[in-house]
Amino acid sequence: MIYSLIGYYSLIIGLIIGLSLFYFSYKNFNNSNTLDTKILSFTFLQLFFVVISFLCLIFSFVISDFSNETVFNNSHTTKPLFYKISGTWGNHEGSLLLWLLVLTLFIFLFLVRTKNQPVKYKILTLVFQQIIIVGFFLFLIKTSNPFNYIFPIPTEGLGLNPILQDPALAIHPPVLYLGYVGSSIIFSSVLAATSLKIISTSWASHIKKWILISWIFLTLGILLGSIWAYYELGWGGFWFWDPVENVSLMPWLALTTLLHCILVLEKKSILTSWVIILSITTFTLSMCGTFLVRSGILNSVHTFANDPERGLFILVFLFILIFLSILIFFFFHKDNDRKSHSFFWLSKETSILINNWFMMYFLSVVLIGTVYPIFLDVISSQKISVGPPFYHKLIIPFLIPFLLMMAIGPKLKWIKSQLEDKIYLISFLIISILLAFLVLKNFNQNILINTILISSALYLFFMTLRDFFSQKYKNISQNIAHFGFSLLILSILFNNLFASEIITNLKVGETFENSKTKIVFESVDQKKEKNYNAIVANFFISNLNGEEDRFSPELRIYNQPVIATSEADIKTTLMSDKFIVINLVQNQDFFNVRYQVKPFMLWIWLSVILISFGGIVSFLQKRS
């Protein structure tokens, strides 16, 4: 009760501080030599009040204060403490409060950490960020207040969707949000820098750190979501091209492109328009993602409540922001690239530019695939869905030149370059092709495209691997990230090509046998936990290689809310994952069994971690 009160009023105070900051900024902007300390302390106060509000919500969840509507809708007394806390951001209101928290946190850190940049630039960044913050305050207070009362006070809550009760998914939203919302600070500062015309090499190396932070968290956030989908949703895949996944991939693509552009800008002071447009795009895509997911247009586990008012608010807000940024871009941005406009076709910047175009292409494919069904529904009320074949067909062929470019590009010099070590380049290519052919020798499906794909991924793999030991070449962060990417593509390819799957319906005591695998359904146990009952099925699986494993996947029936979920049993080894999941259809004796062998599953996760590790290394490097 009291927490809701404190939380609510903290939000109001935060909003007032946000509004007052406009005034202070205006005053400070006109006679500025130093940053007004009031601005800094008010920004801190705003962060402080949002933190208080957030803590209040967490406490309400911890003590199961069901007078709070959000808690009532999403919590339950029997839920483990960990999931009570994670339930705070497992719902619409709480997750928006988290948005706000990250927004205010980033602007505060930005003001504190930014040195050697003009005061006007800092103030203007603050103003733009405050526009976003105030917008979100209004959104939160007006349409999705997390501290609404219920009277009479219910004795028990409705509980959290059980598939959200999972460690990976408990930390997935905060990590993803740090990336998602982190792009807001890039957006604000790019607008500020454009208006003040201070986009330069030193600005680029300053903003690079912020891009990296956002990028690292976004990468890890997507990874967590993907791992969760793998073991919790019971399909044994890690990426489904579900619209909800796509909306997190799109900002990632834009951000990755931006990261490469900023490197060029830092060195060569070119591609400024790209940087501005990409920064705006990244944040817009993050906002669009929030809009699509929150408004209930995309139906998924992320849709908490379908409230048209919320969707409309975000949509209007989004249009204001886009309009504002386009205005600034066209009125203030003068292309000052003239002096070094011409660059030779064979140079590092050209190769980065080419791959940027590829990345933009991937982005538009994902965007169209995601938005087109919504569009069609609105126009002709025809219901369609765009499945994986669409994405595979359009993306995979273009991965080949993309990978080759990634391998050769970093070898080139800035401005103008000759290809050195031609022998190396060619011999590696030949080795890659031979190796790919060897691997796929016994494979008869789509052999041509797969061989080419694997060879180009192998090529990148060998090239980056060699660079780790090369004396001449010392861009370690880029090397790690690119190496990770080659590993990612390779693992995904092998994972897809060599996966095997058995789906069958078995009764207890029955045995399934084919030429390679034998599945014995031995017995069924019952298990009783505090918040769910489970049926544990015991399997004994052996294969031709003499490997024998026991599996006990579960079928859980949660009590609040009553939902059945399948808990897959996964045996992970370095080389492959064995994945089994069961399901029971009401009033039937048969268990639906799905058994999969997925090679290199672990490597998919590891390579993504490696990619983000590359980002971390780059972040920690001292400016040269």
Binding site: N161, I163, L233, G234, W235, N299, S300, V301, W357, Y361, S364, V365, I368, G369, Y372, P373, Q382, K383, I384, S385, V386, G387, P389, F390, K393, L394, I503, T504, N505, L506, E510, P561, V562, I563, A564, T565, S566, V581, N583, V585, Q586, N587, Q588, F590, N592, R594
Partner: protein, 139 residues
């Protein structure tokens, strides 16, 4: 006539335009090929001809219609006006049950038989795909 720079820039613009057009064409073409349409049992009944392409059928799983053998699941999808028999061999999602909403993806054999390649997972017992809601709402 024109300077080298102008010519280069012109060439650049032309190349970009061509690429853009090609890309758009490519994307639209594969959209056309890979889109999956959603239909209710009633809509299928009124089809003039059976399409060979992949579709989705949505509705309720009819009461007492599920029957399972060791390699197949059979059930009936209904929108309370018309129904369609579905055969499926694959993994069923958690919330697949009689009297609940379901979306099956696959191919039509004729107006009464549907062979599903995938049954879509739902994560929430209160959740109903908007397509199903709409199909049921028409009754």
């Amino acid at each position: 006539m024109y300077g080298r720079k102008v010519k280069l820039r012109f060439l650049f613009v032309v190349i970009i335009l061509i690429t853009l057009i090609l890309t758009t064409f490519l994307i639209l073409k594969s959209l056309e090929e890979n889109v999956v349409y959603f239909q209710s049992p009633s809509e299928i009944k009124s089809l003039s001809e059976i399409d060979k392409s992949k579709i989705r059928v949505g509705g309720m799983v009819k009461k007492d219609s599920i029957s399972i053998s060791s390699n197949e699941v059979n059930f009936i999808i209904t929108d309370f006006k018309n129904e369609i028999n579905v055969t499926y061999s694959g993994a069923v999602p958690n919330l697949f049950a009689e009297g609940k909403g379901v979306v099956a993806e696959g191919f039509l054999k004729d107006r009464n038989f549907f062979s599903a390649t995938k049954i879509l997972a739902k994560h929430d017992e209160n959740y109903m795909p908007p397509e199903v809601k709409e199909a049921l709402g028409e009754k």
